[in-house]
C-alpha cells in the first residue's frame, strides 16, 4: 500500500525516511529500523508522535467525557471515598429539568445566531473593500485588522470592560455626548454594561465581532484574488451594479470559502468562553452561556463532574455535527488529497 505520492516506490524520495543503520546506536535499534523499512511503515512511524499526543490529550479526554456523563462523578469519587457508579441518563435528566441550563442554552443560541451573520457580513464587506484598495493601503488596513485578531482574548476582554466601565469608560462618555435623535443623552452616564444579560451580550457581540471579522476579511480577500478580474469587468461592461456582481459572480465562485467560514464561525462563536468568562464573570449565573454553565458545574464547590460532563458532551456533539459539515465541505474542496 505504501507508495510515494508520485507513485514511484523509490525510498530516495522520502526525505526523512527510515533511520539509517549507522544512526541507530544499538543492535536492537538497527533491527527496528530494518523492520520499519521492510514493512514500509515509514509514514506510520512519522505519524506516531502526533497520534500519541493527540490521542492521549485530545481524543481520550473526549471519550472520557462521554463516559463520565453517565456516571455519578463528584467530590467523593475524586477523593476515592466512594466508587463511581454508572447512573444511566440521570445526569441528563437533571440538566433537562434545570432552568439554568435552558437559559444558558438559549443565550448561547441567540448569541451565535446574531454574531455569526454579523461577523460574516462585516468581514465580507471589509474583504471586498481590501480587494479594491491599492496594494499599500490594502496591506496597511489588513495588518491593522489582523492586530485585533492577534490580540489575546484576555487582553481584548479586559480592554472592552475598561472601554465600557461605568466610572470613566469612554463609551458611556461618548454616548452621553451623542445627540438625542441618535439615542444619546445623560441617561448613559454611569451605565453598567455587565449588570444584566442584554448589555453584557451586546458588549460580548461587539468584542467577538472585533476579534472575528479580520480573519473573515483576509480569507475572503484571499478568495477574491483567485477570481479573474476579467469576470468582474465583463459583468460591469454588461451594466451590472456592485450588488448584482457580488451575488451573480463573486458569491457563486467563493461559495465553498463562505461555507467553511460559516461553519468555523459557528463553532468558534457558539463555544465562546474566555471573553464570556471575563465579561460576565463567575457568579452571574443568570447571564451564563452553555460554556460558562458547564465550567461552573465542574469547577465550583462542590464539583459535579458527571453533570458537567453531560453538558460538555452535549456541547461537543452539537459542535461535532457542525464539524461534519465542515469536513464534508473541506473534502469537496479537495483539501484531503
Amino acid at each position: 500500500m505504501v507508495k510515494t505520492v508520485s507513485g514511484r516506490p523509490g525510498r530516495a524520495t522520502a526525505p526523512a525516511g527510515p533511520p539509517r543503520p549507522r544512526s541507530a546506536a544499538s543492535p536492537s535499534g538497527r533491527r527496528v529500523a530494518a523492520f520499519i523499512r521492510r514493512h514500509r511503515l515509514t509514514p506510520y512511524a512519522l505519524l506516531l508522535p502526533s497520534v500519541l499526543a493527540i490521542g492521549v490529550l485530545v481524543v481520550w479526554p473526549a471519550i472520557e467525557i462521554a463516559a463520565f456523563s453517565f456516571q455519578n462523578y463528584g467530590l467523593p469519587q475524586v477523593m476515592g471515598v466512594q466508587p463511581t457508579q454508572w447512573v444511566g441518563f440521570s445526569n441528563y435528566s437533571l440538566i433537562l429539568h434545570d432552568s439554568e441550563f435552558w437559559l444558558s442554552l438559549r443565550l448561547s443560541l441567540i448569541f451565535a445566531a446574531i454574531v455569526v451573520p454579523l461577523t460574516l457580513i462585516v468581514g465580507t464587506l471589509v474583504g471586498l473593500l481590501l480587494n479594491r484598495l491599492g496594494r499599500k493601503m490594502s496591506v496597511f488596513v489588513s495588518s491593522a485588522a489582523m492586530l485585533a485578531w492577534a490580540t489575546p482574548a484576555v487582553s481584548a476582554s479586559v480592554i472592552f470592560v475598561w472601554l465600557t466601565d461605568p466610572d470613566g469608560g469612554i463609551v458611556d462618555w461618548g454616548l452621553t455626548k451623542l445627540p438625542h435623535w441618535l439615542g444619546g443623552g445623560a441617561h448613559w452616564a454611569g451605565y453598567s454594561w455587565t449588570n444584566s444579560a442584554l448589555p453584557a451580550y451586546t458588549l460580548l457581540t461587539v468584542l467577538v465581532l472585533w476579534q472575528g471579522f479580520p480573519f473573515i476579511a483576509v480569507s475572503v480577500l484571499a478568495g477574491l484574488k483567485t477570481v479573474p478580474a476579467e469576470l468582474h469587468e465583463s459583468a460591469r461592461v454588461d451594466g451590472a451594479g456592485s450588488w448584482r456582481i457580488f451575488w451573480k459572480v463573486t458569491y457563486p465562485l467563493l461559495k465553498p470559502i463562505f461555507l467553511v467560514l460559516l461553519l468555523l464561525s459557528i463553532i468558534w462563536d457558539f463555544g465562546v468562553f474566555t471573553q464570556a468568562y471575563i465579561i460576565i464573570g463567575p457568579g452571574n449565573t443568570n447571564e451564563y452561556n452553555l460554556g460558562l454553565y458547564a465550567y461552573e458545574k465542574a469547577f465550583t464547590q462542590p464539583p459535579t463532574y458527571g453533570i458537567a460532563s453531560a453538558l460538555a458532551f452535549v456541547l461537543t456533539i452539537v459542535l461535532l455535527i457542525i464539524t461534519v459539515g465542515y469536513v464534508r465541505s473541506s473534502v469537496r474542496q479537495g483539501a484531503i488529497k
Binding site: M1, L147, D165
Partner: protein, 276 residues
Amino acid sequence: MRRVGLNVLGLLVALVTLFPIFYMVSTAFKPANEIYSLTPHPIPLHPTLSNFRTVIDGSVVGVPYWTFLRNSLIVTLSAVVLSMLIAMLAAIAIARFRFRLRTTYLIMLLIVQMLPQQALVIALFLNYRSWGLLDNLVGLILVYTAFALPVTIWMLRNFVAAVPREMEEAAAIDGAGPFKVFWKIMLPLVAPGLVATSVFAFIFAYNEFVFALTFLLTDVQKFTLPLYVDYFYGRNGANWGAIMAASTLFTIPVMTFFLIVQRRMVTGLVAGAVKG
C-alpha cells in the same frame, strides 16, 4: 474621487479596529486623575510610568511581572519547539507518502481541531489530577503541544508539499541519504513555512486561557501571563491604569512578533483553514 472615498473608508476601518489597542496603551501611560477625568482624553497629557512600575515590581499580586513572563516564555517556547518537531514529521508523512490510513488521519485532524476546549478541560483536569500535573508547567506544555498540532500539521503539510520533489531526487541521486536530503534540501526550503507555523503555535500557546485557568489553581508563582492579567484584573477592581499596563506588557510582544511575519502567516493560515 471614488478612489479617495475607498481610501477614506479603508482608513476608517483601520482606525476603528486599532482604537481599542491604542486606548489600552494610552491608558497605561495615564496618571490616575486623567483616567477618571470626566472628559477622557485620547492621549495622556502627562504621561507616567507609574502604572508599569506597579505591575513590574508586583506590589499588588506579591509576585513581580518577570515571574509570569518567564513562565509564559518557558511554556510557550517549549510547546512551540515540541509541536514543530512532531508536526514536521507528520507533515512529511502526509505530504510525501500515500498509505492506507492517510485519509482517516486527515479527517481525524479536522475533527479534533473542532473539539471544544472547555469541554475537554473537565476530563483533562481529572487526568492531570491523578498524574500529578496540576500546578505544573509541564502539564501546560503538553496540552498546548497537543492542541496546536492539528492546525500546525495542516499548515506545514502545505509548505512541505510545495517543495519540488525533483530537488530531493537530484540530491538523492548524488548520493545523499534521507537525513542529508532533509537537512540540506527540505529544511531550508520549508524554513519560511516553519516560521509562519511556529508563530501560529506561539500565539495560540501564549494567549491560551482556559487550560491555564483550570490547571494552575493555587500557586500564583506558576501563573502564565494571560492568567496573571485576569487575576490582576480580578484583584484590582478599578485600578485601570495598572490593569492596562499589565495588559499592554502582555499584548505588545505578541503583536510585534505577529507583525514581523504577518503576511506569510496569514497566507498560511488562510490556506490551512480555507483551501486546506
